[in-house]
Symmetry: C2
Subunit: 348 residues, 2 copies
């Protein structure tokens, strides 16, 4: 399903960095431009506005033969909400543009908006603008999401320090398993048998995690407002790729304890029945839309206590190391090996 | 060249209105959502933020066999700057997303950004974010532009009153003529002869007006800050379509004096040599990115005096009438007829 290859992704990041260097300059009001989950602008006094944008292409980011238009809309909005969550911001407003093939039924466009708005309603986000045009080939969807934080108060990718602990919310790999269940069910008889071996509640849980992800908005605001996290990112590319982003931006290394990565019972059951490593699914699966964050080790007890009190699942999965350490993974048998640099992306 | 048909455009507006009614609610901070050139949010105190977004598709909005990637980028940014101009706002920040076919040379992507930034530099606009992804078919470009005005101070489409005069900046129809020169030069021998009959400076002027339009940012801010205009819109669809938007939003009619529509000498010469009506080119040609605005009749002398002093070309072309009057056009011979309801769009 990896039709957007890792190679392409790396070129893309290089392109963005080139553009950032070439065109982005320091501006007084601009708190954060290219290179984070959202662009941030400090308004006159007590507010920072956060802007994030995504362009989704049919056949690249979503496949309308697998997912409904409603689900595509929902997941597109949720992906952007997740970026806002990773800033510790309150999502506020949405602008959305569509390029629509002439043959596309308008009922499905409406379904797509329904999905967008379903995601937005959960977080009280309002649609404030957009554009609609024709497309000669495939549906394209562009989303800009605007959020706010108090002035001078946001979570960035570049704040991780050596010695900080590394945490994730929720469980990882579920969305990838859910996608596999949805797509393999269409293509292969043998895997359809496997699918039936998986209990119905497990299957529903995993498919739901893929089709109905939930951006960790409340968790992001908590980490930001309580000044607990030093850096944060949302898990859209997979733990491997997103941890790399934190390490690059913070100029640090990391040691990941593979045995501590939180895997759901359903994901573990799916992996077992399909000869997969659940940890591998967490590292490269992507689209879990959980938060990956770092925090000083002295705050561990506070984080765990407050998370419990609020009903958030938060797991410590490693430690920030010096830059020269690189990113290493420790297995349950105590062996250590470098984290592979690839992450791959699939339909979303 | 009208590959996006009028029919499609009308469906599109109906769709936007449906969506607006369905999803947009009144929000305290939201000054203007769907249905104007930009969405406006009042920040904590002295500032309103303006957001406008466009999604441009290869083969629909631009044709890379006619226009360079640099020119596509420039014109895409300028189209959004023009929306900000029509609000009377100061353009500030740009977010841009691209979906790129795998075969697309990265040098051309760079050219496209060069074009975007060339337009932005003219108005001191900073690139603050975006997204890059793969496309299976064609290049797609999404732009979000953010501008500001003082709080409670902006130009909308719905402020025109009966008796107001109707004005435009600059000259109309040039961009359409320029596009014709660019595209016909590629396809037809007979029109190539016609093209050669047109003086070189005329040809250069028209082609430049198409490839290098200039959003009327200064004029928009002047009209807004000096409290001269009651309503404004930028001319992207053609005078006919955009005047209709003003009339619909303001619930008024209009009387247009066709003889007063400002036509450049070059456009007039082009029209003569090609058997076209220059007024028709102004009404339906589109992409002039001039401003169309209304103002109380008592302000006419002030507007003309201040425009002269600032070096802005401003022409009074008609009068706002009651809604039941409809939109009528008066010819130089004194006859009056209803304005046709179509406007068409072409490559941009």
């Amino acid at each position: 399903m990896a039709i957007r290859k890792a190679k392409h992704t790396i070129q893309e990041f290089a392109l963005i960095r080139t553009i950032a260097r070439r065109f982005a300059r320091r501006v007084s009001r601009l708190v954060r431009g290219i290179g984070d989950d959202a662009a941030v602008i400090a308004a006159s006094r007590p507010i920072w506005w956060h802007f994030t944008t995504d362009l989704l292409a049919e056949g690249v980011h979503f496949d309308l033969s697998v997912a409904s238009a409603e689900s595509v809309g929902y997941r597109a909005a949720m992906a952007n909400l997740s970026d806002i969550a990773a800033m510790g911001a309150v999502p506020r407003y949405l602008l959305t543009s569509l390029a629509i093939p002439k043959s596309f039924p308008s009922a499905r466009i409406f379904d797509l908006y329904e999905g967008l708005m379903r995601a937005c309603r959960i977080h009280d986000v309002r649609l404030i603008g957009g554009d609609t045009s024709a497309s000669k080939a495939g549906l394209f969807l562009s989303i800009t999401l605007i959020g706010t934080t108090s002035a001078s108060r946001a979570l960035f990718r570049n704040g991780a320090h050596v010695g900080d602990h590394i945490y994730v919310t929720g469980t990882l790999g579920d969305s990838f398993a859910g996608l596999q269940l949805l797509t393999r069910g269409k293509t292969s008889r043998s895997t359809r048998r496997n699918r039936h071996q998986l209990g119905r509640s497990h299957r529903q849980f995993l498919v739901n995690r893929h089709l109905r992800p939930m951006a960790r908005i409340a968790e992001g605001q908590w980490l930001n407002n309580a000044r607990l996290a030093t850096a944060a990112i949302d898990l859209s590319d997979g733990l491997s790729g997103d941890l790399q982003h934190i390490c690059e931006e913070s100029r640090v290394g990391a040691e990941l304890d593979l045995g501590k990565i939180p895997i759901s019972t359903a994901c573990r059951a799916y992996a077992e029945r399909n000869g997969l490593q659940p940890v591998q699914m967490a590292l490269t699966g992507g689209e879990d839309y959980e938060l990956l964050f770092t925090a000083p080790s002295r705050k561990q007890a506070t984080i765990e206590r407050q998370a419990r009190a609020r009903g958030y699942r938060v797991t410590c999965i490693g430690t920030i190391r010096p830059h020269r350490f690189g990113i290493q993974m420790t297995s349950s048998d105590g062996t250590m090996r470098p984290m592979p640099v690839t992450s791959y992306e699939h339909f979303r």
